[in-house]
């Protein structure tokens, strides 16, 4: 369970970092976005494989869900603060990243319950539209992955991860991939 919780926290933080970097000076940093994406894929694979194993062992998935719903709300609010503090410190490459045109792996709708308090878009110069507030910290302009693409992404990230996740690529993934 530790691995699952850690994986989830890492994913949440990666999303937070990617989103906040979009409004940073100097524009999106490709290298940083790529690293964040890799970390997120890696964490997601481990999270899924850990969940699969726990499902197979007969543990109730719903139990897991309820026990974890409160957690992400805390982690997302706690990631907000360190990010603000470190923006002054880590001034070198800071928080400027974002993969241009990269399809967002997670369904925005599913993540709404995890977002916790909606973070106002402080740094953006653009007017706050309805869509911006609706999607919380997931930009809704990002493409949503279809079934086949998801499988493809998982297969690719399995290779990155260096783990044997053959079983995962054969499991038909539903549209809402991650349910916390």
């Amino acid at each position: 369970m530790d691995v699952t919780a850690e994986a989830k926290q890492i994913m949440v933080q990666a999303l937070g970092k990617m989103y906040s970097s979009r409004s940073q000076r100097g524009g999106l940093r490709l290298h940083r976005s790529l690293l964040l994406t890799l970390v997120m894929k890696s964490a997601r694979d481990i999270y899924h494989s850990a969940r699969l194993m726990s499902e197979k062992s007969g543990q109730s998935v719903t139990e897991e869900c309820t026990s974890h719903t409160q957690e992400p709300m805390d982690t997302s609010s706690s990631t907000a603060t360190p990010l603000r503090e470190t923006s002054g410190q880590s001034s070198e490459d800071g928080q400027r990243s974002g993969l241009e045109g990269h399809p967002h792996p997670l369904n925005p709708a599913a993540d709404k319950e995890n977002c916790g308090p909606s973070r106002p878009d402080r740094h953006s110069r653009k007017r706050r539209s309805k869509t911006a507030t609706d999607s919380d910290f997931i930009p809704c302009k990002k493409a949503k992955l279809e079934c086949a693409e998801v499988r493809g992404v998982l297969q690719n990230s399995s290779a990155n991860c260096g783990r044997a996740l053959d079983s995962l690529s054969l499991v038909p993934m539903p549209r809402t991939i991650v349910t916390f």
Binding site: I10, R25, G26, H102
Partner: protein
């Protein structure tokens, strides 16, 4: 001594200088007479070594400010609605050919060639204008004279001689001057371009890692450098921890490498952050041209150009951070890009760490030392005391524990004099110059 570091009070440790003063690059010129620093505010400050004089032997070879100029200004890309930072990412000196000094400085998008020259004479005795510069009434001029050069107070001028722009869609991370003295290359996340120093309106693309579909992107270029002697050879490092050596004689487009250096990953060290910490942040050829040095988050590696399968030597910079990667990811420190340098004889390598520590590794004796760049320790002619980080168990009196390290004090940029034991260490917005003096 300073055993317990205050990590919680950022404002307390902060010395209230602006972010613009943060040093972003440090570079000695080929003779070591000059030392250039670039900062986040787009300024370049050049230091010059004092001539040694018999009158003041204790001031032998100190570096003083020689020239300061604004190299880059913030710009705005209207098409992409993006601000282009003025931060100087790299400075590289050209070999000296006459009395003037030339350097290349770059920000994220534009490379500039600067000429730094001295003026110690000025012409006096014009016919058409008087000494104040006011135009004289031609009717009052009855004689003609030839203006003569009169000595004046030394003035150091910096002027931009070339501007190389509009060649990079992504952020420039490095520049490198070819040993031919005529060309240089600029590198961004996906492409490496070759320029002629005389020509600003065109460059040649040598390496292009951009995939057809950006969603397929798995690797970016992190650094590139020309071989110090072979003008046809260059190396570039990637975010996946590999280095490619390319020969420009093979083809115009150097997408196919002639050598590929990569060490297989140790499966026992596998973690969520393996990809991040294996990304190479700096690559440097040795002065001899026989070796390559690379820096990733936790180690420095020396590669023999003739052996691609694994590095010749691996040095642990701060392995005690391996168990802290999660926190370092949370506070963004895991993305810090440390540089590394060789000494003049390629026998010692140096790189920075946190808490204003920097590390030196002697390749021959296999000994290493950790030193600290701080005001308290750096009184003139004070001897630097080696520092130790306590990795577990009982902490000795002079040691500092891992949890007490100040991660906001990072040494990313250092320089080593090309022939002498003089090092320059940039600690946020302070520059420390240490010299090895044999008494």
């Amino acid at each position: 001594m300073e055993d317990s570091r205050n990590t919680s009070g950022f404002l307390r440790d902060h010395n209230y200088s602006t972010e613009a003063d943060i040093i972003s690059t440090v570079e000695f010129n080929p003779s070591g007479e000059l030392l250039a620093t670039g900062d986040k505010g787009g300024r370049v400050v050049v230091f010059q070594r004092e001539q040694e004089s018999k009158n003041q032997p204790h001031r032998r070879g100190e570096y003083n400010v020689y020239s300061t100029f604004q190299s880059h200004e913030p710009e705005f890309d209207y098409l992409k609605s993006l601000e282009i930072e003025e931060k100087i990412n790299k400075i590289r000196w050209l070999p000296q050919q006459n009395a003037a000094y030339f350097l290349l400085s770059t920000n994220d998008k534009t490379v500039k060639l600067w000429k730094i020259s001295e003026r110690d004479k000025r012409p006096e005795g014009y016919n058409l204008k008087d000494e104040d510069g006011r135009v004289r009434d031609p009717a009052t001029i009855t004689t003609l004279r030839v203006p003569v050069l009169q000595p004046m107070d030394l003035m150091v001028e910096a002027s931009a001689r070339r501007v190389f722009c509009n060649a990079h869609a992504y952020h420039i991370n490095s520049i490198s001057i070819n040993s031919d003295g005529q060309t240089f290359m600029s590198t961004d996340d996906l492409r490496i371009n070759l320029w002629n120093l005389e020509v600003t309106d065109s460059s040649f693309n040598m390496v292009d890692m951009k995939p057809v579909n950006m969603e397929d992107l798995t690797e970016v270029i992190t650094n590139a450098e020309f071989h110090p002697q072979h003008c046809n050879t260059f190396a570039y490092s990637s975010s996946k921890g590999s280095i490619r050596l390319c020969d420009m004689r093979d083809a115009a487009l150097c997408d196919k490498h002639s050598k590929f250096f990569e060490e297989p990953e140790d499966p026992s060290n596998r973690s969520f952050f393996s990809e991040i910490i294996s990304s190479i942040s700096d690559v440097k050829f040795s002065h001899s041209g026989r070796y390559l040095m690379t820096r990733d988050y936790l180690t420095v590696k020396v590669w023999d150009l003739n052996m691609e399968s694994k590095p010749l030597e691996t040095y642990q910079v701060h392995d005690y951070l391996r168990g802290k990667l999660c926190s370092l990811y949370e506070n963004d420190c895991i993305f810090d890009k440390f540089e590394c340098v060789w000494n003049g004889s390629d026998s010692v390598i140096m790189t920075g760490s946190y808490n204003n520590f920097f590390r030196m590794f002697d390749r021959n004796t296999k000994r290493d030392v950790t030193l600290e760049a701080s005001r308290e320790n750096s009184k003139p002619r004070a001897v630097l005391k080696p520092r130790r980080v306590c990795v577990g168990g009982k902490r000795r009196k002079d040691e500092i524990s891992v949890d007490s390290l100040d991660f906001s004090k990072k040494i990313l940029h250092t320089g080593w004099h090309p022939s002498e034991n003089i090092i320059a260490v940039a600690a946020t917005n302070n520059l420390y110059i240490f010299q090895d003096k044999i008494n």
